[in-house]
């Protein structure tokens, strides 16, 4: 059974294609990750799925409802936690929840019951009467997630849920998300540009770059497809290494900001070759490492760039910095 079916979804902004003819399915009960650099179109996809933005063409079915034909129905059946904070800081945690419950027309008794339950779930029950402006970033995030669950959505959208949070809070949040998925059976769709987050949390991942889906599978499968090992070399002459290594055992090689990443089988066997080749050609190597492929390597393999490089290519860099600054 599908929770979401996306069909040829496209969104253009003034001739700029943000989402380019994207189609995919998300199964009910899944944790699905949209992975990609900032500006890849992840948030735009979420905005269209949650009926905030109208697609230029194509459509999607969310919980058996068409996003074009039944906006209200879709809105009632989904919960969403935005990338940027969307709480009223001048209200208390309880009041924020209550406001939401009233907007979704949850009857009073049920509303009070659920608010108490959810605030307990996100461990905010003793702060329920404090103004949100006194909350830390992690507490706000948890409150937003609790709020998104108040009307018992079948699908929960999380847009960069852990952006700007410290590692400990991130781990904590991951646990919540996993529990929610398991215990309540909620389908969760999250966007992230943290590869480890997608790897750890998601059962399926769609890698998005420049508005297109370039790969879609389980993280495990994506990494296996890449296969073998990955050798990463840090060197001031990265480009030189890149041009010198032309052996047959190299499956894929990429050079990117001071690093060379080689994808190959049996890395242990070939690493000495690489080192002697480098010293032969008088190329300095600062460090060298072998590891199993990560999603980062998958992204690199598909796009020829690391996710971070791709990010700093875009003008979004400034916006991103502003956003982080505002969140502080």
């Amino acid at each position: 059974m599908f929770a979401i079916k996306v069909e040829n979804l496209t969104k253009e902004f003034d001739g700029l294609v943000a989402v380019d003819n994207v189609s995919f399915d998300i199964e009910a009960g899944e944790i699905f990750g949209l992975l990609g650099p900032n500006g890849a179109g992840k948030t735009t996809i979420l905005s269209m799925l949650s009926t905030i933005l109208k697609p230029t063409s194509g459509t999607a079915i969310v919980n058996d409802l068409d996003i074009l034909k039944d906006e209200d129905g879709v809105r009632k059946s989904i919960g969403i936690v935005f990338q940027d904070q969307s709480l009223d800081e001048e209200l208390t945690a309880y009041e924020n929840m209550d406001f939401h419950g009233r907007l979704y027309r949850i009857p009073k008794n049920l509303r009070q019951e659920r608010i108490a339950e959810l605030l307990k779930l996100v461990e905010l029950e003793d702060r329920k009467d404090s103004l949100v402006k006194t909350f830390s970033g992690g507490m706000r995030r948890r409150l937003e997630i609790a709020r998104g669950l108040l009307h018992h959505p079948k699908v929960l959208f999380l847009d960069e849920p852990t952006l700007g949070l410290d590692p400990q809070t991130r781990n904590h949040l991951w646990q919540y998300i996993e529990n929610l998925n398991k215990e309540k059976g909620i389908t969760i769709i999250l966007t992230t540009h943290y590869m480890d987050e997608a790897d750890k949390l998601c059962e399926k991942v769609a890698i998005i770059d420049m508005g297109k889906i370039i790969a879609l599978d389980t993280p495990q499968k994506l990494k296996e497809d890449l296969g073998g090992d990955v050798i990463t070399i840090k060197s001031p002459d990265a480009d030189k290494i890149y041009s010198k290594i032309k052996a047959s055992w190299v499956k894929n090689i990429e050079s990117h900001d001071g690093f060379v990443t080689i994808n190959l089988e049996n890395a242990e066997k070939h690493i000495t070759e690489i080192v002697s080749l480098s010293s032969h050609n008088n190329i300095d190597i600062e460090s060298i490492s072998i590891h199993k492929p990560t999603l980062e390597d998958v992204f690199l393999n598909f796009t020829g760039k690391t996710i971070r490089e791709q990010e700093f290519n875009t003008k979004d860099q400034m916006r991103m910095r502003q956003r982080l600054w505002r969140r502080r």
Binding site: I52, D72, R75, Q85, E90, E95, F99, R102, L103, R105
Partner: protein
């Protein structure tokens, strides 16, 4: 989305507005400061030198309805413009993505703004009782309140219309200096309309606030320069227009 209106939802938005208002004591006091300052300085300062022939009023008495309108005007425009903060701090998204119509949100905001501006106006009115204002009949008082509500509704909607078009507070000073102050200055709040040179008078006649000031003046003092029924019709018409226009622009907000 079809534009159905549920009282519950409008009430929810209204309630949030009121809660925020009650909580921001510094804003309440701050926005009372200027009207009280005008009232005291202009009222006492000019009372003995200004003579208003044929009005049966001293200047202080004349000024009080004007300052009440001023207080209502500024509070309501500020209330409407607050939507920019909601936009910037993201809260508007939460409201817009809920299964409610924009009309409900707009109505809740407008009623909230009108309520807080009525309260601000009434605070000035109560204060004015100590400066010689005499409310002799309850009917007049209610007339004044009705006009305050109309000013509150129309200018909150006006603020929302502006906020729908602005992305941040940068243009705010511009709006205050070039729109709100002229509206206030030309409304006859501070001086009788017929004391202006004849080339300026048409401008006062297209100033919707002028009809509000005159209406409140009629309610509180029993005299006005413009027929109060006419004032009511003009201001009510302006309110309907502003609320329609405001919700039109508000509906087009993209987030």
């Amino acid at each position: 989305m079809e534009e159905e209106i549920t009282v519950d939802i409008v009430y929810t938005i209204w309630l949030r507005h009121i809660k925020r208002y009650i909580r921001s004591r510094s804003r309440i006091i701050g926005s009372l400061g200027m009207p009280l300052f005008f009232l005291l300085v202009l009222g006492f300062g000019l009372n003995s030198v200004v003579d208003l022939p044929g009005m049966g009023q001293d200047y202080m008495g004349f000024l009080i309805p004007g300052i009440i309108s001023m207080s209502v005007l500024f509070t309501s425009v500020f209330s409407g413009i607050q939507i920019i903060w909601d936009k910037q701090f993201g809260f508007l998204k939460e409201t817009l993505v809920a299964p409610v119509s924009r009309m409900e949100i707009m109505l809740g905001q407008t009623l909230g703004g009108a309520t807080t501006s009525l309260i601000q106006g009434l605070i000035i009115l109560v204060f004015s009782l100590f400066l010689g204002l005499n409310i002799s009949n309850i009917y007049g008082f209610l007339v004044a309140c009705a006009f305050m509500v109309l000013i509150g509704l129309s200018f909150t909607a006006f603020g929302i219309a502006i906020a729908s078009k602005m992305d941040d507070m940068h243009g705010f000073q511009l709006i205050i200096n070039f729109v709100i102050f002229p509206i206030f200055g030309l409304s006859g709040a501070l001086f009788p309309l017929n004391s202006l040179p004849s080339w300026l008078q048409p401008l006062t006649l297209i100033d919707p606030l002028a009809y509000g000031v005159e209406g409140i003046r009629y309610g509180l003092l029993g005299t006005s320069q413009i027929n109060p029924y006419f004032c009511f019709i003009v201001l009510a018409g302006f309110t309907v227009f502003m609320m329609t226009f405001g919700s039109y622009l508000f509906r087009k907000i993209q987030i």
